[in-house]
């Protein structure tokens, strides 16, 4: 029984991992873009973006999932996500990417704004272009500063993926719950916790390693 449960939970965990990794893949670069927008000198750009960040960070992710999945059909009568599992996955991914990009953007903004003005001025008097200044001077210093808060968010994301159940996205908790109905046992559901624990443990090790690798400068 144990191995049967483990195998099917692994299958569910695959869904969790898929949502987790694709969310990271898209939300990190999108977050950087949003952070640039939220720091834009032009209020016409900055204010709407700050407003969106406020809304996204100020409402529950579960609610956002529901609105993104059902909203287009209810309000506009369009079946944006298609039917079936692929559609549910896409809707969940869009909600997660958008939500996490907003959180990441605030971390990026904090990191970028914490770089002393003197670094920009030194780069300027050395004739570096804005691009060179960002990629050669600022970026790595920002990365070093934001690794701890990013690692926090990433570990939260592992567990947040379970929220996608509200739109019937198939992941590990879903799989664990199934055993209550099909076999009358609840321990598989509790057992899912071990998967989360092991995975976030691995991530903690990975981020610890990255932090250590960036320890060569202060």
């Amino acid at each position: 029984m144990f191995s049967t449960v483990t195998l099917s939970l692994l299958e569910g965990f695959f869904g969790t991992l898929k949502l987790f990794s694709l969310t990271l893949l898209f939300s990190l670069p999108l977050g950087l873009l949003i952070s640039f927008g939220s720091m834009n000198k032009n209020v016409v750009v900055r204010l709407p973006i700050r407003f969106i960040i406020w809304v996204v960070r100020g409402t529950p992710l579960m609610l956002q999932l529901l609105i993104i999945f059902y909203g287009p059909g209810i309000f506009f009568g369009v079946n944006l996500w298609g039917s079936g599992d692929a559609g549910r996955f896409t809707a969940a991914l869009v909600a997660f990417v958008f939500n996490y990009a907003c959180y990441f953007s605030e971390i990026f903004r904090g990191g970028i704004q914490s770089i002393p003005k003197g670094q920009y001025e030194a780069a300027a008097v050395l004739g570096l272009t804005k691009r060179q200044t960002f990629f050669r001077i600022v970026l790595l210093q920002v990365v070093k500063r934001i690794v701890p808060p990013i690692s926090n968010e990433v570990i939260t994301l592992v567990k947040d993926t379970s929220l996608a159940r509200v739109i019937a996205f198939y992941e590990i908790i879903w799989e664990g719950e199934r055993f209550i109905k099909s076999a009358g046992i609840i321990w598989p559901l509790f057992y899912t916790g071990a998967f989360y624990l092991v995975f976030s443990g691995l991530l903690t090790l990975l981020f610890g390693y990255i932090e250590k690798r960036l320890d060569y400068f202060k």
């Binding site: 001025e121 780069a123 008097v125 050395l126 050669r136 210093q141």
Partner: protein, 250 residues
């Protein structure tokens, strides 16, 4: 002909006029020190020369080339980029790039400048500069592994690596522990002896007297007095200069 001609530079921040029309010339190979109390505008003047601030008015001419004309201000940032390279800048807070070693700090800009020089040549030159600064055994150290004096000497090498026409110092020893100022001043003195054209904003009166060909004393956004160290420091004619020096030499 003067290597640098500054005419009638004006600069205000929030309606407060910090520079009220500054004019001076600097001859090639000479060292000019700018003295003055805090708020007299001396750092702002230096930052205007580097275009870290854009002057409101006036002209800046280097080697006969008009770099800045207040009547016809440059609009795009990139116009300034090339022009800035006439000036090297050494900051009070060093502003080394923490993720690069001493040598990497020095060669970064020449590397990116990409003017056809080979990598070996650039590295060799960087090493030579750091040797001159007495840092031959510190090239592979990161800034946080260096003392303030060593960091400032790396910063001087970094500024020299681009071969600026004029090297500017903004209170280069103000952020240093007293026992570390000597090593930095010694390096600047050597540069002066080798006829590097320099502008030094400093509070080190004794040092300014020793290295400078010309002293400018600023007060309230204007040049109150200008001349050789013997004139301005030893025999000031202006009341405010006298008061300032009396405070410092007390």
């Amino acid at each position: 002909m003067a290597i640098l001609e500054v005419k009638n530079i004006k600069k205000s921040f929030d309606k407060e006029e910090i520079l009220k029309g500054i004019s001076f010339n600097l001859e090639k190979g000479q060292t000019l020190s700018i003295l003055g109390s805090s708020g007299s505008g001396k750092t702002t003047l230096l930052r205007c020369l580097n275009f870290l601030e854009t002057p409101d008015d006036g002209t800046i001419t280097v080697n006969g080339e008009l770099l800045f004309d207040g009547a016809n201000k440059p609009s795009k940032n990139d116009d300034l980029r090339e022009k800035r390279l006439h000036f090297g800048m050494v900051f009070q807070q060093f502003n080394l790039f923490p993720q690069y070693t001493a040598l990497e700090n020095v060669i970064l800009a020449p590397k990116l400048e990409n003017n056809g020089r080979s990598m070996e040549e650039i590295v060799e030159e960087g090493k030579t500069l750091l040797n001159k600064m007495g840092l031959s055994d510190r090239m592979d150290n990161y800034p946080h592994q260096l003392s303030g004096g060593q960091q400032q000497r790396v910063a001087i090498a970094r500024a020299l690596a681009l071969k600026p026409d004029i090297l500017c110092f903004d209170e280069p020893t103000s952020a240093l522990d007293p026992e570390l100022t000597g090593e930095v001043l010694k390096v600047i003195k050597e540069l002066a002896d080798n006829h590097t054209t320099m502008i030094i904003v400093t509070h080190e009166i004794g040092f300014a007297r020793e290295v400078s060909d010309e002293i400018v004393f600023m007060d309230g956004g204007v040049i109150a007095e200008q001349g050789t160290p013997a004139q301005v420091i030893d025999n000031p004619s202006n009341d405010r200069t006298r008061k300032f020096l009396a405070n410092y030499l007390k």
